[in-house]
């Protein structure tokens, strides 16, 4: 029988006909899985509803797209469901997967939820009485009485296992009792018993992982979502497929199957058993838990590559990433956001990649979202409070977090970090601020000075990058590359003197030791690294554009110049990474006379780090294979430039290092800065600067997320 829930409970079950509507929309509307995933990842589920009747999936309820969510999760996570299929989704495969999963769960339950004498585990095994609930006296002869009795010390005594199992159930039950205290669903003893069974069976069938706190909340979330869509056999819905897919009596088995599949991606955050390996001297090898390793990667490599300033800030404050990363990852963000938001993040994560590869990058985008708060203080306690009590936003935009995670995963460089900040500014209205570099004008902070008032953050000197990124993103009317880039050059020209003066104010007041490396310099220098590297990058790009303009003046149909501009465009749009090491200042001036080296070759054409996610999530062009497994669309420059030519002209193509070392010397002296206005001078009259657009429409918002699409259109 259906349990009754309070009406006010936002997790109350929908009516059966609502579930039927969701089922029909998902499985019987001709929707392909690729379209569906693309829509979820881009936060466009409600848009799709206009076209293909996905109404039940859209965020029509206050808690956002709840009805039918379990169908999506089953679709994405059950092993046999074809995620790459271009054919319309149908329920048949999903149901056949569910059938075999249910059989398997039933067999496991029969084997592991019974005492050696065949009696079931006492259903009321709460943590108080589990230890005292003795199994009944054995009535079987398996192994003989000597071996098979509750008091036997024989190693093969099946009762030993039974007592160990009871102990494990007690540990699990202890957490299950405390799960989501604010959601009334979990106060039911039946629900707690089912959840304990599911976790218990998972642990005994995965002894290498075992039980860890946190799994209960992941499995509990799945139980909540799956049970929410479940239909009681007596509900009067005459639809065999729906009845079978959402059968309430099979909720536990379905949750087990979904949980097990999810844990294939998540178990690496839970592993804790130290391998008993010894080094050559017979000493136990030093061992780092995988979760600690992952957390360090997130902060020290992933975050550092897109936001060196924030990394330096956290690092100098002594923040160890596992402090926040363990909970973020193990629970998949259920404590950092309201549960309804967290499950929407799961939707996007699973749609993007059921192996949860993007979850670790989501941690980076979460850090970027609160970078203003983190940078606003040097106080360790305050920083930790932000990280462990994640600030809430008026609008969480879960899909944006995941989409940004995919973007920085594809191209983890500082410009991508700036792009994310610009998106957060434009979509979430989070101002781009940076910690006041302050240097010595601020009073030196004393150790542990926790009670002082925080200084208001100041505007970041992001002028040039901001101008370029914004200009290109907003240029919806730019129909030709030349126009877009020539006007960008004008902005470049205008912006450089400002930036130079900003930089000189910000960074040159303190002598910066040449040849210093991040990690060994002062905190202030570390913080400036991001701006320095951005500045250097833009400066080199300016030289490239300057060369192209003079080449075009000589020969208006110069293909090399156009390719050069196209390449600069690709760098600015983050289609290809910027390769600082291959852009020597004098290089461009040599190119026109030789005219043999295609400028594309100056940039490394592909970034090995992105190969796992080729073109992933980059917008409409990859929609059919948005998950990136079969969508290796050739990049623009790959298609135009024959590979052999590229190889001949540039035998050594090295990928860009995660963060180019800041060339402080260049910034401080910077004789090249003045060359750009001169180079662009001749073209100033030829180009027109489009007036900036006023208000922002919904289309603009999409364009901000897909600047390439704008130019394509």
């Amino acid at each position: 029988m259906a349990q009754s829930y309070p009406q006010a409970d936002q997790w109350a079950r929908p009516l059966p006909h609502e579930i039927l509507l969701a089922f029909n929309n998902l499985f019987r509307s001709g929707l392909t899985i690729a379209t569906l995933r693309e829509a979820i990842i881009n936060g466009r589920v409600d848009r799709l509803s206009n076209r293909i009747e996905l109404k039940a999936l859209k965020a029509s309820r206050p808690d956002g797209g709840r009805v039918g969510r379990s169908l999506l999760w089953k679709l994405f996570l059950l092993p046999g469901c074809p995620l790459l299929d271009g054919n319309p989704v149908n329920a048949t495969l999903c149901i056949s997967e569910l059938r075999s999963a249910r059989r398997a769960y039933s067999d496991l339950a029969a084997a592991r939820l019974r005492a050696p004498d065949g009696r079931a585990i006492p259903s009321s095994s709460t943590h108080e009485d589990a230890t005292v609930s003795m199994p009944p006296q054995s009535s079987t002869d398996a192994g003989g009485w000597e071996k098979n009795n509750p008091l036997s010390l024989d190693a093969e005594n099946p009762w030993q296992q039974w007592f160990a199992d009871l102990e494990l159930r007690k540990v699990i039950r202890q957490d299950v009792e405390r799960i989501f205290p604010e959601i009334s669903y979990f106060s039911s003893q039946t629900v707690r018993e089912n959840l304990t069974d599911i976790l218990f069976i998972y642990c005994v069938t995965h002894p290498e992982i075992g039980y860890r706190q946190g799994m209960h909340e992941v499995a509990g979330t799945i139980l909540l979502v799956v049970d929410n869509d479940s239909i009681d056999y007596g509900a009067g819905i005459k639809d065999d497929e729906l009845q079978e897919c959402c059968a309430r009596k099979s909720v536990s088995a379905d949750v087990y199957a979904v949980f097990m599949s999810l844990m294939e991606g998540a178990h690496r955050w839970y592993e804790w058993r130290e391998p008993r390996r010894r080094d050559v001297r017979g000493q136990p090898e030093s061992w780092t838990a995988p979760i600690v390793h992952v957390c360090r990667m997130i902060q020290d490599q992933m975050l550092r590559s897109v936001d060196p300033a924030l990394w330096a800030h956290l690092d100098s404050a002594g923040v160890e990433p596992q402090i926040y990363g363990i909970r973020w990852l193990r629970l998949l963000f259920t404590r950092e956001f309201p549960l309804s938001t967290a499950v929407a993040i799961w939707d996007c994560l699973l749609a993007a990649d059921p192996s949860l590869e993007l979850a670790e990058w989501v941690c980076v985008t979460m850090l970027l979202r609160i970078r203003n708060q983190l940078l606003s203080t040097d106080d360790y306690s305050t920083i930790l409070t932000y990280l462990l009590h994640y600030p809430s936003l008026d609008q969480d935009m879960p899909w944006l977090l995941v989409k940004q995670a995919a973007t920085i995963h594809e191209n983890p460089v500082p410009t991508t970090g700036v792009t994310v900040m610009l998106q957060n500014r434009d979509i979430l209205e989070i101002a781009i601020e940076a910690k006041s570099s302050g240097f010595r004008e601020a009073a030196p902070t004393r150790p542990g000075e926790g009670m002082r008032t925080e200084r208001p953050p100041e505007k970041a000197p992001l002028g040039l990058t901001d101008v370029i990124a914004k200009h290109l993103m907003e240029r919806t009317d730019a129909v030709t590359l030349n126009r877009a880039f020539l006007s960008t050059v004008t902005e470049l020209r205008k912006g450089l003197p400002d930036l130079t003066s900003t930089l000189s104010k910000t960074f040159m007041t303190q002598p910066v030791p040449l040849g210093s490396t991040p990690g060994s310099t002062s905190e202030d220098t570390l913080r400036s690294a991001q701006f320095v590297s951005l500045y250097t990058e833009q400066e080199r790009l300016g030289h490239a554009v300057g060369w192209a303009i003079s080449a075009l003046k000589d020969n208006p149909s110069s293909l090399d110049a156009l390719r050069c501009l196209e390449t600069v465009q690709n760098v600015l749009l983050r289609k290809v990474p910027f390769d600082a090491s291959r852009l020597e200042p004098g290089f461009w001036t040599k190119v026109p006379s030789q005219a043999t080296v295609p400028p594309d070759a100056l940039f490394c054409p592909t970034n090995p780090r992105t190969s796992l996610f080729p073109n992933k999530l980059s917008g409409g062009n990859t929609a059919p294979g948005v998950v990136g497994m079969n969508s290796r669309l050739p990049r623009v420059h790959d298609a135009r430039i024959p590979v052999d030519r590229r190889v001949q002209s540039q035998p050594v193509v090295s990928p860009m290092p995660p963060m180019p070392p800041p060339s402080h010397g260049t910034v401080m002296t910077s004789p090249q800065v003045t060359e750009i206005p001169e180079a662009a001078n001749g073209s100033q009259n030829e180009c027109t600067v489009e007036p900036a657009k006023g208000g922002r429409t919904e289309e603009d918002r999409q364009n901000l997320l897909d600047p390439l699409g704008v130019l394509r259109r």
Binding site: H127, P181, I323, L384, M451
Partner: protein, 208 residues
Amino acid sequence: MSKQFQFKLVLLGESAVGKSSLVLRFVKDQFDDYRESTIGAAFLTQTVQLEDGTTVKFEIWDTAGQERYKSLAPMYYRSAACAICVYDITQSASLEKAKSWIRELQRQADPSIVIALCGNKSDLAARRQVSQEEAQKFAEEEGLMWCETSAKTGEGVNEIFDRIAHKLPEVAPLQAQRGTAAAKPAGARSVDLNKGPAGPGTPESCNC
């Protein structure tokens, strides 16, 4: 003419003995019958004002009971000035776990760390498995503070934090002489003791 101190305090103990509830009672004077399990660690701060005007700010690290990583736990008690090892008076096994934490602290943590042994759930005395005498005797032998508390009723909670707040400034100069760097393992990534998280006994800012 008041002094200000800032100390790192860590709570250790078996799962579900009530560590988070103790902190919630101390910091917000609240209690929930069911608290969600702590994953990793939780972090809160609370400032205590002593009679002589001294303020003691606690940075409280509330750890997960199930955390058995050798590579993780030290991060939480490293450079801690005080630790509260909590057991549940209705679960004798939880006292054994508290003792093993105490032994680890005595071996690994800063030698001058102030350790308190705390028997929680004193409101459930009817189901008591750990006698007061047994726990008190152990605490005396080991030179620990000891108390029984009930996060549910609030009994004894403020008292134990107050006792710690009184004791810490007394031992602080001793720790300062030893040098805060001693708590920092060589080569390990650690909190900068001259920055936010004050090392054991580092006076926050002395206005006297």
